[in-house]
């Protein structure tokens, strides 16, 4: 089983992983793509040759995946946190039997490797990446994100977000208010803002530099995905049958803030979104399996191809932006070389 070129779209490679694709990520050198699978395996793919190697990382489902310079960090419903790379294989960083590791986060500098287990954040520090549990938060953690420079780590939970800056063993963090049930959390590339999706069909933005926050509303459905543009001034979100981009730069007057909406797709919600790391482009996966590419300059988006699946579950760009990878709930996964 290996990724094979698509007959119609040049540069597209497809494979069926025969399991739920829970996440995908690129190694920092862009030379390996990892796909986390619902049957416990991690697929490691060389995008040059399309060669694929499967590593049995977990015994249940892999629930989450993040790339770090030290390898791919994953968490599973077997309660284990694993670090996997082509060179060293897979090794266990920590095990919490009977619990689920639902979120992992890492940054490109290698400064932060973290996971969550129930109400606690686990940090992996030192040369041996020894685990240390941070003090318990008020409820189960539903989102975890590290700032790109690794100076901050944040966890979302009921009624707020706890920010650890810097993340160190024993730190209690700084609580930011956010009433209600809070879910997916992302940092902007410059580390100055955080986007937070809630159970209540809204998105909260935290401006960390100005200690301000505001709520973005009007979604017909729960927002499942968030991605900041490379300049950190636009927050792309799902939760609509279109791409929704909110101007979140300091120059925008909050009273007149209006979302940029394009790429309407009448057959499904935007379930995953990834802004290009360099160019003003944004990739999105709609329910129904269709992957779209949006151009901010043209204020429009067009479908690229469809996966034989119900939902596109993940999308990720290579660090240089020349490759896009993604997967879906039915098993089909892809990577696309941009000309």
């Amino acid at each position: 089983m290996t990724f094979a070129p698509d007959a119609e779209l040049p540069g597209l490679f497809l494979d069926n992983c025969n399991a739920y694709v829970a996440g995908c990520a690129f190694a920092d050198d862009g030379e390996t793509i990892a796909y986390a699978l619902g049957d416990g395996r991690i697929a490691l793919v060389d995008p040059e040759t399309a060669e694929t190697e499967f590593v049995a990382a977990h015994t249940g489902a892999v629930l989450c995946l993040a790339a770090s310079p030290k390898g791919f960090l994953s968490g599973g419903d077997d309660g284990r946190v694993m670090l996997t790379s082509l060179e060293t294989g897979t090794r266990e960083l920590a095990a919490f039997p009977g619990q689920w590791v639902e979120h992992v986060a890492a940054c490109a500098t290698g400064r932060v490797l973290a996971a969550t287990v129930g109400k606690q954040v686990v940090l992996f520090t030192g040369d041996d990446l020894a685990p240390s549990l941070l003090p318990e938060l008020p409820s189960t953690i539903a989102g975890l994100a590290a700032s790109p420079d690794g100076r901050a780590l944040a966890a979302s939970h009921y009624d707020g977000v706890t920010v650890y800056a810097p993340p160190r063993p024993g730190s209690t963090g700084n609580r930011l208010d956010g009433p209600g049930s809070n879910l997916t959390l992302v940092f902007s590339p410059d580390g100055g803002k955080m986007g937070l999706a809630t159970q209540d069909k809204s998105v909260r933005v935290y401006d960390l530099e100005n200690s301000a926050g505001y709520l973005l509303e009007g979604y017909p459905a729960k927002v499942r995905c968030l991605s900041f543009s490379s300049d950190s001034n636009t927050l792309w979100t799902g939760g609509e049958q279109a791409f929704v981009g909110w101007p979140v730069g300091a120059e925008t007057d909050p009273a007149t803030r209006e979302a940029l909406v394009f790429g309407a797709f009448e057959h499904g919600l935007l379930g995953t979104v990834a802004a290009h790391p360099v160019l003003p482009l944004v990739a999105g996966g709609f329910d129904g399996g269709v992957v779209f590419m949006g151009s901010v300059d043209r204020r429009g988006a067009a479908p690229l191809f469809a996966l034989q699946s119900h939902r596109v579950t993940c999308l990720a760009w290579s660090p240089d932006g020349r490759l896009l990878a993604g997967g879906s709930d039915g098993g089909p996964a892809f990577f696309l070389r941009l000309a």
Binding site: D77, W100, S139, T140, A142, Y158, T198, Q199, D200, R224
Partner: protein, 325 residues
Amino acid sequence: MASIPVTVLTGFLGAGKTTLLNRVLTENHGRRFAVIVNEFGEIGIDNELVVSSNEEIYLMNNGCICCSVRGDLIRVLAGLAKRRGAYDAVLLETTGLADPASIVQTFAMDEDTREAFRLDSVTTVVDALHFTRHAAENRQVLEQVVYADLVILNKTDLVAPDVLADIRSTVKRVNDTTQIVAAVRCDVPIATLLDRDAFDIGKLLFGKPSTADAAPGNHIEAHGIESVSLTHDGPLDAERLGDFLRELLQTKGQDIYRCKGIMDVAQAKQRFIFHGVHMFLETAWGALWTEGETRQSLAVFIGRDLDREALKQGLAGCAAREKNA
């Protein structure tokens, strides 16, 4: 994508939920279950895929003070969705004090949950030996019966027939459409529990209003909880009915546990169906009225200290003013 059925097993402390769970799991039925338990108890559960989940009730920021979802359930089911194919159905065992309302609301309000899963049944185990005392001390005992589409009347070998009759009439008084099955050590055929599809709005069950009204009072404290069944002859005005229900649930939703109805709406070829849990209301168009069929509206409200007369009047006030052919 076919949705995966979820069966909720509820019941007060010691009623026999875990016994029932193990019975389901050990019977030879060829089905693979994922089991969600509140915590790993002392009694072992004989199943490959067991997940422990601590009840986390999250209020919604939608202005509705009694709308809550089970945050833990949303998370655990999303995790189980990643292992699709490893099991055929889900069994959820609640704590003895759990309020099924937030579970029912989770399936109704969270799109991700309702897309991949469906609430198949709320089965409540009732401890015949202790029901009378437990019901007097804890309202939850009755609330669990309110949401049940199946009540397993357990430990029937330990009590006298008149006690059983009392319990049956109380169960019927607070939930006249639930199915009651008597059992000893939860020895019910597994087929009774599965494939019920009891929360499909198109398949809502209705009892006979006349028998429900006749359910006699007895020695069991019901905390003012009762089921009010109403019928109405003559077409209703859709807009007025919508306003009435919204207004009713907005003001009395905290005390109305459930409501459901199949209504005859003027100029509509189909039945108008509603189903509510506290302030959350769901509506749909149901089956077509057939030629020559007597079109009658039927509604049931289950709650605390309901004003039957006011409900009846309210419904009557929704009557379509003139008969347009």
